[in-house]
C-alpha cells in the first residue's frame, strides 16, 4: 500500500510540476475567455462611423432611422434615385440606402444599399431590425387592415405542460435548453478527459518499457502496483485539471460578461446569432437560463459526474495501459492496437449528441447501460433527471466492468511489459490473461 502511494505520488507530482501542465491548465480557460472576447470583438467590429444617405421613395419611414455610434442616417428624399447615386460621395456619405415605395402587397420591397464598401454585419442587422417593423406597418396600412384587428388575430402559441395527474408543471422550454447544453458539455468533457488522460497513461507505460526502467521498478514493486499507481496518479492529475478549469472557466465567463454584459445587450444579441430576438426577450431568456442553471441540483449532478468520470477513466485508462505495455519501440505499430479502444469512445460521443435531444428514448436507456458508452452518455443525461434506478444500475454496471477491465489489463500488462522486440498479436494478449505469472 505504501509503495502504491509512493508511485501515485511520483506520477502525480512529476506531471503537475511540469510547465506544460501548468501552462495548459491556466491557458486553456484564458484561451476560452480570449476566444469569446475576440469573437465578440470581431463581430462588433465596424470600419468606423458610417454616414448613410436614406432614399425613402415611398415615405415608409414614419420617423427617421435611429442614428447610433456606428451609423449616421440622413434622409435625402430631395434626390432622385439617379442623383443620389452620383451625389452621395460629394456630401461625404458612405453609401445610399434605397427603400423603394410599396407597390405590390404580394412583393416585399427590395431594399438595397449602394456603396463601395459593404456594411458591417452589425449595422446591417441594426437596419434590418428597424426596417422590418416599419415596412410591415406600412404594408398593413396600405392593405387597409386595421392594425389592432391584426394584432388580435396573431396566434402566439406556447405549449402548456401538465403532468398526467393534472398538476401544472412549470414552463420547461428553458430548462430543456439548459439541460441539453449542460448534457453536451458534460459528455464532451468526459470524452476529452478519457482520451487525453487515457493516452497519457498509455504513453507513459510505453516510455517506461522502452527506457527499461520498468525492469528496475518491478524488481521492487508488483506490476499491478506500478500500473495502478500510474492510472491513479494520472487520474488525479486529470481531476486536478478539471477542478481548476471548473473554477477558472466560470470566472472567465463572468469577466467577459462583465466586460460586455448589461451595458450593451445587443452585443449578446449578435453573439448568439439570434438577431431577430428582441432585446427584452433576450434579457428574459438570459435570466431564465441563469435561473435554470442555479435550479439544477448540482449537489446531485456533480458527485455523480465524478463517479462516472472515475468509472469511465479507470475502464479506458486500464485498456490504454494494457496497449501501452504491449507496444514496443515501434510506436507506429502500436497505434493500430489503440483503434479498438478509440472507436467505442467516438461512438459513445456520437450517441451522446443524439441522446441529449431525446434523453428518455430507448437509445438513451440502453446506451447508458452499456459500460463502454455509459461514462459519456449518462453524465449527459443527468441534467434531465433520469430515474434514480437507471443511474444506479448504470453506475453499478460501469464500476463492475471497470474493475474487471483493470484486472484483465493487469494480466496483460505484467507479461507484455517485460517482452521486447517481439510483435504481439491480439490473440497473444488474450492468452496472457489466462496464463499464470
Amino acid at each position: 500500500m505504501n509503495k502504491l502511494w509512493l508511485i501515485i505520488k511520483r506520477e502525480y507530482i512529476t506531471r503537475v510540476r511540469k510547465w506544460t501542465f501548468i501552462i495548459a491548465t491556466i491557458l486553456t480557460p484564458l484561451g476560452i475567455g480570449l476566444y469569446f472576447l475576440v469573437s465578440v470583438l470581431i463581430m462588433g467590429y465596424e470600419s468606423g462611423n458610417q454616414r448613410i444617405a436614406v432614399l425613402d421613395e415611398g415615405n415608409i419611414l414614419d420617423k427617421p432611422l435611429k442614428t447610433t455610434d456606428r451609423a449616421f442616417f440622413k434622409k435625402k428624399n430631395e434626390w432622385s434615385f439617379e442623383e443620389a447615386l452620383v451625389n452621395f460621395k460629394e456630401e461625404a456619405f458612405d453609401g445610399v440606402l434605397h427603400i423603394p415605395p410599396i407597390e405590390d402587397l404580394k412583393k416585399i420591397p427590395s431594399i438595397t444599399y449602394y456603396s463601395d464598401q459593404s456594411l458591417g454585419i452589425r449595422t446591417q442587422q441594426f437596419i434590418n431590425k428597424q426596417l422590418e417593423d416599419r415596412i410591415k406597418n406600412a404594408r398593413i396600412a396600405k392593405s387597409g387592415l386595421d392594425k389592432k384587428t391584426l394584432k388580435d388575430l396573431e396566434a402566439d402559441i406556447s405549449i402548456g405542460l401538465k403532468s398526467p395527474n393534472g398538476e401544472k408543471e412549470k414552463d420547461k422550454t428553458a430548462s430543456t435548453m439548459v439541460a441539453t447544453g449542460i448534457g453536451i458539455f458534460m459528455g464532451f468533457v468526459m470524452y476529452m478527459t478519457v482520451f487525453i488522460y487515457g493516452m497519457m497513461v498509455m504513453r507513459s507505460v510505453t516510455e517506461e518499457k522502452t527506457t527499461r526502467i520498468v525492469e528496475v521498478m518491478i524488481s521492487s514493486v508488483k506490476p499491478f502496483q506500478l500500473m495502478m499507481g500510474k492510472i491513479i496518479g494520472v487520474g488525479a492529475v486529470g481531476l486536478t485539471q478539471i477542478t481548476i478549469w471548473g473554477i477558472l472557466i466560470p470566472i472567465m465567463a463572468f469577466l467577459v460578461g462583465l466586460f460586455f454584459g448589461p451595458g450593451d445587450p445587443d452585443q449578446f444579441n449578435d453573439f448568439s446569432g439570434s438577431a431577430a430576438m428582441d432585446e427584452e426577450d433576450m434579457e428574459i431568456m438570459m435570466n431564465l437560463v441563469v435561473t435554470e442553471l442555479l435550479a439544477l441540483n448540482w449537489w446531485y449532478i456533480l458527485p455523480l459526474f465524478i463517479l462516472f468520470f472515475l468509472g469511465g477513466y479507470f475502464l479506458y485508462a486500464s485498456l490504454y495501459a494494457a496497449v501501452g505495455s504491449a507496444m514496443g519501440d515501434d510506436l507506429g505499430e502500436g497505434q493500430s492496437l489503440t483503434i479498438p479502444i478509440t472507436i467505442p469512445v467516438i461512438i459513445a460521443f456520437v450517441v451522446m449528441t443524439v441522446v441529449v435531444q431525446n434523453p428518455h428514448s430507448d437509445l438513451a436507456f440502453w446506451s447508458s447501460m452499456f459500460p463502454l458508452f455509459s461514462p459519456i452518455v449518462m453524465p449527459a443525461r443527468l441534467a434531465f433527471q433520469p430515474p434514480l434506478w437507471e443511474i444506479g444500475l448504470s453506475l453499478i454496471l460501469l464500476l463492475v466492468t471497470a474493475i474487471s477491465f483493470v484486472w484483465l489489463s493487469s494480466r496483460i500488462y505484467r507479461v507484455a511489459i517485460l517482452l521486447y522486440g517481439k510483435k504481439i498479436s491480439v490473440r497473444e494478449l488474450g492468452r496472457w490473461i489466462f496464463t499464470s505469472d
Binding site: 512529476t14 527506457t211 525492469e215 528496475v216 524488481s219 521492487s220
Partner: protein, 301 residues
Amino acid sequence: MNILDLRNVVKTYEQHVAVNDVSLEMPEGSVFGLLGPNGAGKTSLIRIITTITRADKGVVYFNGEKLNSRHPAEIGYMPEERGLYKKMKVGEHLLYLARLKGLSKRDAQRAIDDWMEKFYIKDWWNKKIEELSKGMQQKIQFIATVVHRPRLLILDEPFSGLDPVNTNLIKDEIAELNSQGTSIIFSTHRMEQVEEVCERIVLINKGENVLEGSVADVKQQFKENQFQINFSGELPGMLEEQFQIIRSENSTIVIQLESGDDSNQLLRHLIQSGVHIDAFHEILPTLNQIFIKKVGGNSDE
C-alpha cells in the same frame, strides 16, 4: 548458510523452455558468476530470483526461506538494460527507488548522501538524469541498486559502457560490499572479469545448468595435464619419444602428460638431463576456454 538455493526450477514461455530444471546453491557472502551464452536463460533465471516472474516448477529458497514478497527489499538488481526516468532529478530519483525498497525517507536520504559523497557526485542532486552522460547514469544506477544495503546483489554486465577508471571504482565498491557480507551474483560474458572476481560459477546453456562449482575446482576439472617449462640450456634429445610436446620455442616448451603421469617424473627427467629449469607450471584452462568448450557450437548464436 546458503543465501540462495534453487531446486529444480523450470520456467516455460509459450513453447520455449527458458529455464530447464536448474538447481544451484549459493553460499552467503560469496561472489557468484552466472555465465552462459546469450539466450541461455540467465535473465529468466534472474527474473525468478528477483520475484519479477515466478517459476512454473521448483522452489527457490532465499536465506533458507521460501522466496516471498518481503525478499525483493533484500535484493538489489541492476539489469543489463539500464533505465532511469530521464526527466527526474538525480536526488529525487534515488530517493524514490530507495523508498520503493522500503527505506524510510530519512534513512534513504542518509544512504544516498553517503554514496554520492563516495562517488564525488554530491553536486548532482538537482541535475536531471537526461543531462548526464551514459557512464554517469551508470553510477546512479549502481547507487540505486545498492542503496538499500541488499543482502544479495545481482549485477547483469555491470561494467558495460564504463571507462576503466569508473570500472575500477565500481569494482572496488563491489569488493567492499562483499567484504561486508553482501552476496553477489555476477552475470557477464566477460570471462576475464569472472576469473578476477568470482569464487564460484554456474554455467547455463539452453536453460540448463551445465557446470557448477568453485572457479578453482572447475579449472581442475577441465585441465588437460599440460605443463609449461621455461628453461635455459639444451633440451635432452629423444624427449619427444617419451613425452608429447605440444609447443616448443626457443626457451619454452609445453608438454602434455598422460592422465596418470606424474609431473615430478617429467621434472626429474629434465633436471637429470642437465637442463636449467627457470619456471615450471601447469597450464590451467581459462574460463573462456572452458566456456567455449562446454557451450561450443551449441550456443544459440
